[in-house]
Amino acid sequence: MKVALVGNPNSGKTSIFNHLTGLNQRVGNYPGITVDKKTGVFRYHDNPPITLIDLPGIYSLYPKSRDEEVVLQVLSSKEGEDYPDMVIVVVDASNLERNMLLFTQVYDLGLPTILVLNMVDVARKNGITINHEKIRELFHGTPVFQVIARTGEGMEAVKEEIVKPRAAKVVIPFLEGEFIDCQPATDETEVQKNYVEERYRKIRQYLGFAVKKETIPSSMAEKHRKADKILTHPVFGYLFFVAILFMIFQAIYAWAEWPMDLIDTIFLSLSQLAKESLPDGVFTRLLAEGIIPGLGGVLIFIPQIALLFTFIFILEETGYMSRVVFIMDRLMRPFGLNGKSVVPLISGVACAIPAVMATRTIDNWKERLITIMVTPLMSCSARLPVYTLLIALVIPDEYVGPFNLKGLALMGLYLIGLFASLLAALVFKWIVKSKQKSFLVMELPLYKMPRWNSLVITIWEKIRLFVFEAGKIIMAISIILWVLASYGPGDRMNTAVAKLDKPQTQEGYEAYEKQVASVRLANSYIGIIGKSIEPAIAPLGYNWQIGIALVTSFAAREVFVGSMATIYSVGEDFEENATLMVRMRNEKHPGTGLPVYTLATGISLMLFYAFAMQCMSTLAIVLRETKSWKWPAIQLLYMTTLAYLFAWLAFTLLK
């Protein structure tokens, strides 16, 4: 048996879904659309398990957005695999009139329907008393329940009703003629409008019988309005938002670092362990150098994803998020974005992956797509090691007035990221076509305490999505990159290694090992690719060593530092011992004898990393969120092109 949950956004539908299914949930796809299908299993005593489908939150059945299309499609295709045997409509009891619109529409489709009035505690506080028996009577015996999903109050009766056997019966429609054979009878806006207005009139009349409303002097509402006035104030509103952002980023940098280091250490030791305990061979190397580090490379993102979504969860649950959207909308609109693009964009400063995942709240597809396309231009934390190394290398430690040049350079790179993403958004606004008009008719919910019990499910959902769906592609690419970096054509690697002088002393052995690694990389397939792109990157001021680092750091930007260290056969830790820096500083062009890492090359490289899409994990999540290869491909292409152009320009001008 299948049961579908339908309701307005913010009606507490998902709380009820979580309550009925617990962690027993999975996410699938509706064929051909980007909307996720959430299903779960509901078990009640000895009854056979029931599949629950949590349909997207919508306000009416008329298909105006993808979410509404999905709901109408599921509820109207009798042969479809998701066609439910019963529908539970969840409504917000404190806002009954509007919520009942969707209920009456679903009711008219003729499926067995249960009406669940949620948040009756809030309704009571507002002086609303509902006679649910009366509603049951008015809707010809439709089961009606009053619940508080937050505490679980009243849910037992709902559970009993779900498993109760029921006989098919003929439904007398609430409004005759609007839905014929489960489809809207008309797609003309004006006729639809008349139907909806007629429905509202009738709902008002019905609720007049079933709902008693006392006007209670509401000091509560006054308090909320006062908070609103401050939080949307032209000065304090923005200041408060900046302060919140500052706290969030402080927390992410402070708290994400140690679990990330821990994951790093664990996978390094696992890899070491595999090498030591398994017989040497292709399989062991694949496991120790390809699969285990690849898996670590996926899991390393979990702390940032979990933290960022915890903060987004708090912002959303408290109701503050919609105020942010409210004050930012006007500023974002000229760029083809909307107020809801702000949080994803800003999250991009930490990491583009959760940022792209956070675009789901944007209901307009065009605005969501633009946000996804430009977010990776924001300067993420993985660019920081690259910038730090290059700034230390080429930017002089001098002051302009009170400002340190190195600090200015870093700030400049962050600003470039911000402006580049806004300008790119402007361009995409002209390119991306959409029939759907942009709108911001949304509810500003009351401020409230977060429901912590759904935090775990929310975070788990995000992690699961990233690890199990984007993770597959990331693993595949890391293994390919590993093969390319560990093997070369024929005997090339071994021949090159054999040419090195064998070490005589113990100290010499360490240096020898680093040289071996360097020579192996230079003669691997990646090394060959890096060398073969040298003519293409020479105009940017790069040599083949940089070419190799560019190719390897396609996996993730920070890999650049490690690759440079391997290529120059020095230790990676450039902050503690400056060997990598010294080595790079002494690097000369073989022909001319001039230094390679000049200001021009350094700036050119920084700009390259500011613009280039050097992150396969972001591409994998963009693929997952847009469900099409087209968009990540366009993203890779346009960002690489920008990177090349700006790097070339910088090198040409500064040379």
């Binding site: 509202y200 609103d228 949307t232 008009k437 709108f439 911001l440 008719v441």
Partner: protein, 71 residues
């Protein structure tokens, strides 16, 4: 008068919604003839506006509010 011109804190009643591709959206969100509404606060730059619709707050851009005829 249309809703975008309504002064802060003045009560008004929705008279009609103009036909536009956005009008179904406004109806879905509970703006229909007969509803009593009041602009409670505005975003910086005066756009969007926040409207109290018999107990809940809706945010609307000015061009969306201009579709709502009030009196």
């Amino acid at each position: 008068m249309t809703l975008d011109k309504l002064q802060l804190n003045f009560m008004a009643t929705v008279k009609s919604i103009s036909i536009n591709s956005l009008s179904p959206k406004l109806l879905d969100m509970g703006l229909f003839p007969g509803k009593e509404i009041r602009v409670v606060f505005k975003a910086p730059f005066g756009d969007p506006i926040a409207v109290d619709v018999e107990g809940y707050i809706l945010s609307l851009r000015k061009d969306e509010a201009s579709l709502v005829e009030v009196a």
